[in-house]
Amino acid sequence: MGILDSKIPSGPLAEKWTKYKNEIDLVNPANKRNIDIIVVGTGLAGGSAAASFAELGYNVKTFCYQDSPRRAHSIAAQGGINASKNYQGDGDSDYRLFYDTVKGGDYRSREANVYRLAEVSGNIIDQCVSQGVPFARDYGGLLDNRSFGGVLVSRTFYAKGQTGQQLLLGAYAAMNRQIHRGKIKSYTRHEMLDLVIVDGKARGIITRNLITGEIERHSAHAVVIASGGYGNLFFLSTYAMGANVMAAWRTHRRGAFMANPCFTQIHPTCIPVSGEHQSKLTLMSESLRNDGRIWVPKRLEDAQAIREGKLKPTQLKEEDRDYYLERRYPAFGNLVPRDVASRAAKERCDAGYGVNKTGEAVYLDFDAAIMRYGSEKALTSGLKNTDDGHIRKLGEEVVEAKYGNLFQMYEKIVDENPYKTPMMIYPAVHYTMGGLWVDYNLQTTIPGCYAAGEANFSDHGANRLGASALMQGLADGYFVLPYTIGDFLADDIRTGPIPTDSVEFDKVEKDVLDKINKLMSANGTHSVDYYHKKLGKIMWNKCGMSRNVKGLKEAVEEIAALRKDFWENVKVPGAADDKNQELEKAGRVADFLELGELFAMDALERNESCGGHFREEYQTPEGEALRDDKNFKFVSAWEYKGEPKDAKLHKENLIYENIELKTRSYK
């Protein structure tokens, strides 16, 4: 096994977690009072973990760069959270959720972790309801469900288009209860700049107070990294502007392996880019694909006329439209998984059928759904012989009740009414399946250092299914870490507080200060955003929805050159001992410039197509991803060795005992 021991418990799949919980070491309640845990990031994973640790009795310190834990970007998740409750009686089960998730991830995730996720999914819903999370309900007062991509059951629980917000506020409330009791100390507007290791164990972090610029030392017996994903590497993405990889990357630099960095999710339904000034992209929830139909014109000349503004989409007859997902994937239609839907949109736009000025947009059309709902509403309201206009009005009301906030968001950004004319959408970077390598305990390769939520790599393989991120974040925080961290901390009941005046803290703090001084003293010619945008362009063009050897090799070189230029010529105004948003950005972009190169190397190394990683050299004659299970059925885990080009690749072989590996088909 070597250093990559995944620590998967023995025994039958469905019994592993229970058996494991029965066998691991526990810390008695009195001793928990003497143990400190640091949690970096306060989204679903970090917030739920912090609250749970504090309830168990540990002393917790949380850190977030925002002014409140409630603002972590989990708040922006729209569509829903999966759970195998089978409330709809449509054949769902833990096994089916497990199966769908492993298949959706294109057989690049760990069976035991995913099964555990499915197993605790139902508990998440129970937990959240008892916390007062206002999920959508039907008229009988019971919980409502909807469907998401890549599955054939309705298992997604939701709160309008604001599910992430409601779940995060639930975790935030649980945190507040513990802050009130003094069991959590919440450090807001603080950023983790480095990890401190003492005697081989993670024992603290160095932070910067973002208001005063002060560099601070914080110690603990264990450190949890729950700082989210790294999609902002692409500059334009659906991530929050401040989302960054600093905590995870600097942990990687201290010895934690980085797993599958090239596995990125490009979400099919986002509002297209409108111009050079654009700072971020906005997602339109996948739940819209329950009712929206995706199409482009059948004829190139129609697409051109639409681009030139001479033709309106509503003028195009049904037979002149190409509902390409329904055509290519009749079984799943518009609800194919995200990677498949994104590539199909790119394929149509590359072939010249794009429908906006830039040629990079397809339609998401609600007309059929509006008429269908309208007719149903007319029937149940006892209205007979109503005209189309009235039916349309009724239908629009139903659609508004389901997706109102999304439609409003679209209209504000694009300045078009999506009830009257189809939405325009295009894929955008949305999530990273890759992240810090963790074992079954969610522990990284550094003892005492854990990673949870999007910051780890564990459950989604090469492609994440919709409504699974919220599930994983809360599963890690509420139900997995509170058990597994005890196994490590059981050895620390006699350790006592970790001092911060040690040589280890001195050294790491000096490294941090040197780095800040170097950034402040470059005094070059270009702003941080200049470099970030350049990096984003390289990533999107060469490491985006489709990748090839030539482009990836160029990307590796271009990113290395850009990084060199950055350190020589970046310009950071203001002072380091002051509130300084440019300095904050500079530190984050410096890390992206290292991660970007490793990302390209990882994509180059993986000579197959799987999930969101599509290598042009490896595809079927129909243009579908061609996996190579013989040679690439592994997790790539990179060890930091100085420059990104020197990183050392380790492999964790994936073992499938409960699922037969098949070509993923949604046809």
């Binding site: 129970d126 019971l142 929050a240 401040g242 111009g275 310009k571």
Partner: protein, 248 residues
């Protein structure tokens, strides 16, 4: 478009601030308001000046970080949006725009357009939760049926993003809408009823301690709330508070 900006600049909490004039050319309607400020900041950086600091994060109207008072209105002229969703098409060539931080005694300025909203945190910590442990060992979710109407109302109250626009809009700098949104969410749900009396008393006490003003029912908070949180919630909180006080 040519736009004239008058922006509040303040070095830190203890320094005095002032309005500084900037002129922007070539602004397009499709730009968001914050992208316009990004361009201004790039320009300031290239001139060697210190850029303007403002809070922002998700840029899709849900995190609640934005806190700009634009021409005297929280989040600017449009209704039901945050600043990050405001686009320059809402302005016209030659307009002058005044940008200030949210103003309230309980929201001290940290720097430029950034304010300290920790008072909101402390109100939530005082009682904005249901006291259940996160063990997952609770009852099955569907064993607590809830009338759809109440579930929807609770959701509407829970949609508050904690931005503080209600306080900035209020002539008394009252935090009643913010506080009542959380009180209402839980008061409308059977799970929240159990601690309803303690919750409303604790949260109101903290709200008063923070120095927010009283409510005089002008309704400005509801008008400026980016999430359309209803004044009904304030009425519900008053009822809850009265009920809790009578019971003792």
């Amino acid at each position: 478009m040519k736009i004239y900006l008058k922006i509040w600049r303040q070095k830190d909490a203890s320094s005095k601030g002032k309005i500084v004039d900037y002129t922007m050319n070539g602004i397009e309607g499709d730009m968001s308001f914050l992208e316009m400020l990004d361009i201004l900041n790039e320009d300031l950086i290239s001139k060697g000046e210190v850029p303007i600091e403002f809070d922002h994060d998700c840029r899709e109207g849900i995190c609640g970080s934005c806190s700009l008072q634009i021409n005297g209105r929280p989040h600017g002229p449009d209704r039901l949006i945050t600043v990050c969703q405001l686009h320059m098409r809402s302005f016209k060539d030659g307009d002058t725009i005044v940008i200030e931080p949210f103003r309230a005694n309980a929201f001290p300025v940290i720097k430029d357009l950034i304010v300290d909203r920790n008072a909101f945190e402390r109100i939530q910590q005082a009682g904005g939760f249901i006291s259940v442990n996160t063990s997952g060992r609770t009852v099955d979710a569907n064993s607590i049926p809830i009338r759809k109407e109440n579930a929807d109302k609770a959701f509407n109250a829970a949609a508050c993003i904690g931005c503080g626009a209600c306080v900035a809009a209020c002539k008394n700098a009252s935090a009643m809408l913010f506080t009542s949104a959380k009180v209402s969410q839980f008061a409308l749900l059977p799970q929240g009823r159990i601690e309803a009396a303690e919750r409303v008393q604790n949260m109101v006490r903290q709200m008063d301690l923070e120095g927010f003003g009283n409510c005089t029912n002008t309704g400005a908070c509801e008008i400026e709330c980016p999430k359309g949180i209803s004044l009904e919630n304030i009425a519900r909180m008053n009822r809850e508070y009265l009920g809790a006080s009578i019971k003792g």
